[in-house]
C-alpha cells in the first residue's frame, strides 16, 4: 500500500513535466500577443516590440523555458504580465471561492443524488425510478447558465430571497458566506446530482441482484439495513469515482457558474488569463490543476481500499 502511494506520488513528477512542456509550447504557439494586449490600442509597433523585450518574449523558446523551469524550481511561479503581482498570490485569492463552491456543490449533490439513486434502484421500474431517470436526463441536458438564470429570476429578482450575484469571504462572516453560495451551488449541483444519481442507481441495481443481498434479506434484515449496509457500500466504488471526478472538475474551474454568479474563483482567473495570454498565470494554474487531478485520483484509490478490502495495491 505505502509503496504504491509512494510510486503514485513519484509518478506525478513526469506528469507535471509533460504538462509544463505542453502548456508552455501551446501558449506560445497560440495566436495572440500579450504585449500587444497590454500596450493598448494606440500603441505603436515600436512600443509593443519594447514591451516584448521587457516581458522576455523575444528570447528563444528554449531560453524562455529554461528561465521558467529554473524559477519554478526556486518556488517562483512568476508574475502576471498584467497585474505585476506574483501569480501565486492571485491563485491564493481564487482558491477560497473555488473550494467553497466545490464544497457546497458536492455536498448538496451527494446528499440528494445518493439517496435518490438508491431509491430509484430499490424501486426499479416504478414511477419513482422513472422520475429520477427523467430528472437525470434533464439535469444533463439543461445548461448550467439556464438553471442559474432561472434561479436568479425567481429567487432573487422576483422573490428577493437571495442576492443576484457576488461572493463573501468566509472571514467576513460565515452566514453571509454560506448565504451567497446557495444559488450557485444549487445551479451547479443539478448536473452532478443527475450524474451521481444515475451512477448510484446503476451500481446499486447491479448489487441488488447479488446472492449476498438475497442472503441478507433471507436472514430477516430490515430493508434499510440491506440497502445502506450491504447494497450501497458494495456499490460505492464507481460512485466514489464519479464523485472524485466531479470534485476535480469543480476545483479546476466552473467558468460559467462563476461568471453568472460573479464568484472570483480559479475558473474566471483561468479564463481571463487565457484570453489575455497571461502566460505565467495560465502555466501556474494548469500545473495546479494537474496536481489536483493526480491527488484526487490518489485519494480515490485510498478510499477504494477502505470501501472494498479486497482491493490491494
Amino acid at each position: 500500500m505505502w509503496s504504491h502511494l509512494l510510486k503514485r506520488v513519484l509518478a506525478v513528477i513526469p506528469v507535471l513535466l509533460v504538462v509544463m512542456v505542453i502548456v508552455f509550447l501551446m501558449l506560445r504557439l497560440t495566436p495572440g500577443d500579450p504585449a500587444a494586449n497590454i500596450a493598448g490600442d494606440a500603441a505603436t509597433s515600436e512600443d509593443i516590440a519594447k514591451l516584448r523585450i521587457e516581458l522576455g518574449l523575444e528570447e528563444p523558446l528554449p531560453v524562455q523555458f529554461g528561465i521558467y523551469v529554473s524559477n519554478l524550481l526556486q518556488g517562483d511561479f512568476g508574475e502576471s504580465f498584467y497585474y505585476k503581482r506574483p501569480v501565486i498570490s492571485m491563485i491564493a485569492d481564487g482558491i477560497e471561492p473555488t473550494l467553497s463552491l466545490a464544497f457546497f456543490t458536492i455536498t448538496l449533490a451527494c446528499l440528494v443524488a445518493v439517496p435518490l439513486g438508491t431509491l430509484a434502484a430499490y424501486r426499479h421500474g416504478t414511477w419513482l425510478d422513472r422520475m429520477v431517470m427523467g430528472f437525470s436526463v434533464v439535469g444533463f441536458s439543461v445548461p448550467v447558465f439556464v438553471i442559474g438564470y432561472l434561479l436568479i429570476y425567481f429567487l432573487s429578482v422576483k422573490l428577493g430571497w437571495f442576492p443576484v450575484q457576488g461572493y463573501q469571504h468566509i472571514k467576513e462572516g460565515i452566514g453571509g458566506w454560506a448565504y451567497r453560495l446557495v444559488l450557485p451551488s444549487v445551479a451547479l449541483s443539478v448536473i452532478f446530482i443527475a450524474l451521481i444519481a444515475r451512477m448510484t442507481r446503476t451500481s446499486v441495481l447491479e448489487v441488488l441482484n447479488e446472492d449476498y443481498i438475497r442472503t441478507a434479506r433471507a436472514k430477516g434484515l430490515p430493508q434499510s439495513k440491506v440497502l445502506l449496509k450491504h447494497a450501497l457500500r458494495n456499490a460505492a466504488v464507481p460512485i466514489v469515482t464519479v464523485i472524485g471526478i466531479a470534485i476535480a472538475i469543480l476545483i479546476s474551474g466552473v467558468v460559467v457558474t462563476e461568471s453568472v454568479f460573479v464568484i472570483p474563483g480559479l475558473g474566471l482567473l483561468t479564463l481571463d488569463a487565457i484570453q489575455g495570454r497571461d502566460y505565467p498565470t495560465v502555466q501556474a494554474l494548469i500545473l495546479l490543476f494537474s496536481v489536483v487531478y493526480v491527488l484526487i485520483n490518489l485519494i480515490i484509490d485510498i478510499i477504494y481500499t477502505i470501501l472494498d478490502p479486497r482491493i490491494r495495491y
Binding site: P31, D33, E172, S259, L269, D272
Partner: protein, 531 residues
Amino acid sequence: MKVTISKRTLRAGAIIGALLGGLLTTGIGHAEKVLRVNMHSDLKIVDPIWTTAYMSRNYGYMVYDTLFAMNTKGEVLPQMVDTYNVSEDGLTYDFTLRDGLLFHDDQPVTSADVVASIGRWGAKDAMGQKMMSFVAEMTATDDKTFQFKLNEPTGLIIQALGKPSSNVPFIMPARIAATPPGEQITEYVGSGPYVFLKDEWKPGNKAEFAKFENYVPRDEPADGLAGGKNVYVDKVVWVVIRDQQTKMNALSKGEIDVIESPAHDLLPLMEQDPNIQLVDLNPFGNQYTFRFNQLHPPFDDPKVRQALLYAFDQEEFLLAAIGDEKYFKLCKAMFICGTPIASEMGFEDKLEGNLKKAKELIAESSYDGTPLILMHPTDLAVLEPLPPVAKDFMEKIGLKVDMQAMDWQTLVGRRNKKEAPADGGWNAFITSWNSVDNASPLTTPFLNAACDQALFGWPCDDKIQELRDEFAREPDAGKQLSIVENLQNRVSEAPTHVHLGQWYQPTAMGKNISGAPVSPVVAFWGYKKDE
C-alpha cells in the same frame, strides 16, 4: 413572463430574507456611501502613461489630476493651473498652479512634479512627443510656477496638456514620474479626487477608491472633465461582472449602482425596468473605423481604398451593430460631428453605398482577384456584427473576401504583424474608438501616416503628415478648420481608414443615482446616491 406572488409567499420571503440576509450576514457596514460600478472591463494596469488602455485612463482620472481639461463643448480649460500667460511672440508660456493642490500623501503639488510628469508623458505619448518637439525648455521657476519656452509658435501646447484620452498628461509626484516611461510605476500616489486602495484591489474582482478628503475642487461647476470635481460618495468600487444578464439583474436589485457599458440588446429591457435609468453621459460617443493594411495588396493601391469609401454605407453598419437609431448618428465628419473642426469636406459623396462608383474604381485598380483577409472578432458584441456587413459590400464591388473568425486578443496580436496576409498577416479589420480620440488630426490614431512609425496598417503619406504638422503649428481656430478640410480632401484621395459613423453607449444606473457628469471620458465626481 408574468409571475404572481401571493402575500403569504412574500411574507415567507421577507422572513427568510431577514434570517438569511440580515441575521446570518455579518460584517457589512452601512455607514459609508459606496458607489458600486461595473466598468466595461477589469482594471489591469495602474500606470496610465505606460499603456493606452482605456481602463488605465479611467483609473487615471480617479487618482490623478490634470493641468488642463476638456469640457463638453470640446474646449480646453485650466484645471490644476490657476492662470497662464502666453507671450506676444507665442514662444513663452508661464503657468501658475492653483492653491491647495495636494498629493494623497499630503505633500503639496509643486512645479517640479509637473515638469517631471510632463517629461515622462511627453516621452511616451504621440501627441506629447509632438508637443515636446516645440518645447525648447521646460522649467520650474518656483514651487507654484513653471515655464515652457518654445522653439517656434504652436497652438498645440494647451490642447496637448488638456488631451482627454490615452495617454492623458496626468500629474504625479516627481519621484514617481522619474520612472522611465518604458517601465511601470510601482507607487500609486496622485492628487486626484480619489485615493486608490491598493490593498483592496483584487484583479478580476474589484478595485476600490476612497474619497480624497483633502482634494480642493475648482470653484466652477463641473463641465466634462473640467470644472469642480466635487465628490459626494465615500468610496467608489469598480466591480467586475462579466455576464450581461447578471449585470442587469444586479442593477435592478440595487446590488450595483452603475453599469458603464450595458449591452445594446438589453437596453429595451432596462428601459422598462422601474429601478433603472439610462443616461447618455458621453456627448461625443464612439466612432467605428475600418482599417486597411497598406503594406500589402490590394490596399496599397489608393483606388481600392477609395472604392471602399464609396461602397460603404454608414447606416448599414450602424443598423447592424447598434440597431436603434437613437443610439447612433450618421456622420461624415472625420473629426466627429459637433466639434469645432467638424466638416464633411472630401466625404460629401462618399459613405452612402455608391456601389457603381466603387466598382469603377476597382476596375481601374491593380486588384488581381486575390482573396483579402478581413479579421472578424466574434467575442465583442459591439464589433462582431460589422465585418459581415463590410464583406457584403466588398463582394458586391468585386473584391474576394476571406473573413476569418477569431477572438479579439488574437486580432490584437495579429494586427501588429507586417507579414503578407498569406503568411499570417492581414488586410483589414474594424474597430471602435472613443470619439474623443478621433476629435483632432493630432490625436486620431489611424491618421498617423508616418509609415513604420504609424499604427498597424502603416499608412505612408507625406502630405497627410505635413497637414497634421501644419495643424499643430496653427494657433488660430479658424485656420485650423481650413487645414482640417485640406486634410480631409487628402484623406479622401489616399484613405488611411474609413469612419463608419458614430454610436452612443448609454450608461445604466439606479434611479437613486444622480449627478453623473456628462463627459467625453467616464468620470466619477458629481455622483450622488440616495440610500
